[in-house]
């Protein structure tokens, strides 16, 4: 058997909407098989993985808390990927944003003012943007592959945070635990609505998604991003600079990842610890693709992936299995998303005979 692709004359509208759903369906199917192999009832497992977290108010709040960083980061990444700049170091930019934003509540903890919170958010964006500026500079001016440099910097950021919370920033009154002092009330991002814990990070995420969606759809910048991403040459003829685009997309995604970092630390954790992210920066890559690199799609995709985190915690309790299936689910999902995207541009044909046997039948 062989599989042949035939290019569609036009992009299939039907499949550009359907493909993420087909991917989700396939992930659920294979996820069910995985649970069966672990010796669990697949329906009960999938129920507590994907439905149960949606049935209570507090867990909906948790969903928003987990979705916020995913959406914020993925929205920035979508601009990068659309313009063909492969920033995969958002995890590092998230951490550096969290560190930069935490300077005020950790080092200048005595300063309490309504200005603290907005300044923290700005510092977070600045920290993330500057850190993303390193691979941007290296790519734009020294021709260095941004995939590898941005990824390497993730490890550097993780080690830097580890050093800070064990060394200079360790809480003097913290019994030697590797964590900073807890933030003052003026440095904590408030809840969005009174019914639960969800903080304003989710609000930031929605605002960012709408703004970037507007930019991509209605502004010249959005057009420039798309053109340069599809063909650098065409972009050059139109007078667009791919060097400036590297800077723009990397700084934007770095700033959003940094904002996600400081919002997470200030809203959910309220201090710095050696590990502040369960891999949000990498999961956001899946979010970006599941949302088909469209900011509004990313909002939905972010909620779906946030659900996998919650569901993972839920099955740990209800089925006594480890949290490991989360990563498998997320990996499978990205695989299926990428393979289903083929359906948008190509018709897939299964050929049940070997073409080599028919070579004598004339030119095809």
């Amino acid at each position: 058997m062989r599989i042949e692709l035939e290019r569609r004359p036009d992009v299939s509208k039907l499949f550009s909407i359907l493909s993420p759903f087909i991917a989700l369906g396939l992930t659920l199917f294979f996820g069910g098989i995985m649970f069966m192999m672990l010796g669990k009832d697949p329906f009960a497992a999938l129920y507590s993985f994907f439905i149960e977290p949606l049935t209570e108010v507090w867990s909906l709040h948790e969903l928003a808390i987990k979705a916020a960083p995913l959406i914020l980061i993925a929205v920035g990444l979508s601009v990068c990927y659309r313009s063909n700049n492969w920033n995969i170091g958002a995890e590092g930019q998230f951490i550096m944003g969290a560190i930069a934003g935490s300077i005020l509540p950790v080092v200048f903890y005595e300063w309490q003012s309504p200005l603290v919170l907005p300044l923290m958010m700005l510092l977070g964006m600045l920290g993330g943007a500057l850190f993303a500026g390193i691979p941007a500079f290296l790519k734009a001016h020294l021709n260095t592959n941004e995939i590898l440099t941005s990824l390497m910097l993730v490890y550097v950021a993780q080690l830097f945070l580890d050093w800070l919370v064990r060394g200079p920033w360790r809480n003097p009154g913290g019994m030697n635990f590797p964590e900073t002092r807890t933030f003052d009330a003026t440095a904590i991002l408030p809840e969005m609505i009174a019914s639960g814990r969800a903080h304003w990070g989710f609000g930031f995420a929605i605002i960012a998604a709408i703004l970037v969606w507007f930019m991509m759809r209605y502004t010249l910048k959005g057009f420039e991003i798309t053109v340069l991403g599809q063909s650098q040459r065409a972009g050059r003829f139109a007078g667009f600079s791919s060097r400036k685009m590297i800077w723009f997309s990397m700084l934007l995604s770095g700033a959003l990842a940094g904002l996600a970092g400081i919002a997470e630390v200030s809203g959910a954790i309220q201090q710095l610890r050696p590990v502040i992210s369960p891999g949000y920066g990498f999961t956001a890559i899946i979010v970006a693709f599941l949302g088909r690199l469209n900011p509004l799609g990313i909002v939905v995709a972010g909620l779906v992936l946030a659900l996998t985190y919650l569901g993972g915690e839920a099955v740990q309790v209800s089925l006594q299995i480890s949290d490991k299936p989360i990563r498998v689910f997320q990996g499978l999902l990205l695989f299926f998303v990428l393979s289903c995207d083929t359906l948008i541009h190509y018709k897939i044909r299964m050929m049940w005979y070997d073409l080599n046997d028919t070579t004598g039948e004339g030119a095809r």
Binding site: N145, F160, F282, F329, F335, Y346
Partner: protein, 306 residues
Amino acid sequence: MGIYEAILLTVITAATPLVLAAIGELVTERSGVLNLGVEGMIIMGAACAFIATQLTGSPYIGILAGIAAGALFSLLFGFLTLTLVANQVATGLALTILGLGVSSMIAEPYLGQSGIKLPQIVFPVLSDIPFLGAVLFKQDLIFYLSIALVAGVNWFLFKSRAGLKLRSVGDSHASAHALGINVIRTRYLAVMFGGACAGLAGAQLSLVYTPQWAENMSAGRGWIALALVVFASWRPWRIIAGGYLFGAVSISQLYVQARGIDIPSQFLSALPYLATIIVLILISHNRRTTLINTPASLGKSFVPDR
């Protein structure tokens, strides 16, 4: 055994997985495919090699399991990028994410178990040569394999007909297709070779480097291997030079600490990653030489027109 021999031995142990993963990826990239899933294939190899060794008691079966795991896992990548022409960068990332997840799930029951170390193979007479004997001829099978693989790949790429075809596929898939070379099949084989090498690198980690299983024990080596291929400008022998350089950097922290120099350990742990960035800058800043060395079709999908 003197201190220099001891240092050299640790450098070799740290460098071997990098050399292995990089030489496999080099062949893959020479065929025009950029597989960013090296990290995922290494960790799958490490997990499967460890599990097989624990189950059978034989680290040699472990090695085979590691190789098979890497090759089979790379087929997933091959199917998506070659048959379904999915984006190579994104699919490589997916392979890494999936590999880290699957490996930590299947090997979880083996956490904390002490493994079986791959025994040394001692060459008689040769191993008695002062200094070099202990370093080069008292090693485990995987070390010998790593050197043989580099030599073999060098011969294959530049002296054999099949190697020439593989390079032509990587440099211009359209021309190679027109000449009647089966582009997709060549690339499948190259991807699987890369997967097998990465799997072997993983087996080295869980059978030689630290004979046990730990989650994420590949610790970014797959990404360093990818950087090594760029560093080597796609030439096999330079992989050894680069691999050993990185091996030396990554173990330098042990010696700095042993000498009691007061630098925070985190800064030393960051050294290999920073070194990778610096090396990448030095190698890539000249656009012309980069352009000459890089396989021209690298990262581009190919759909044969019929």
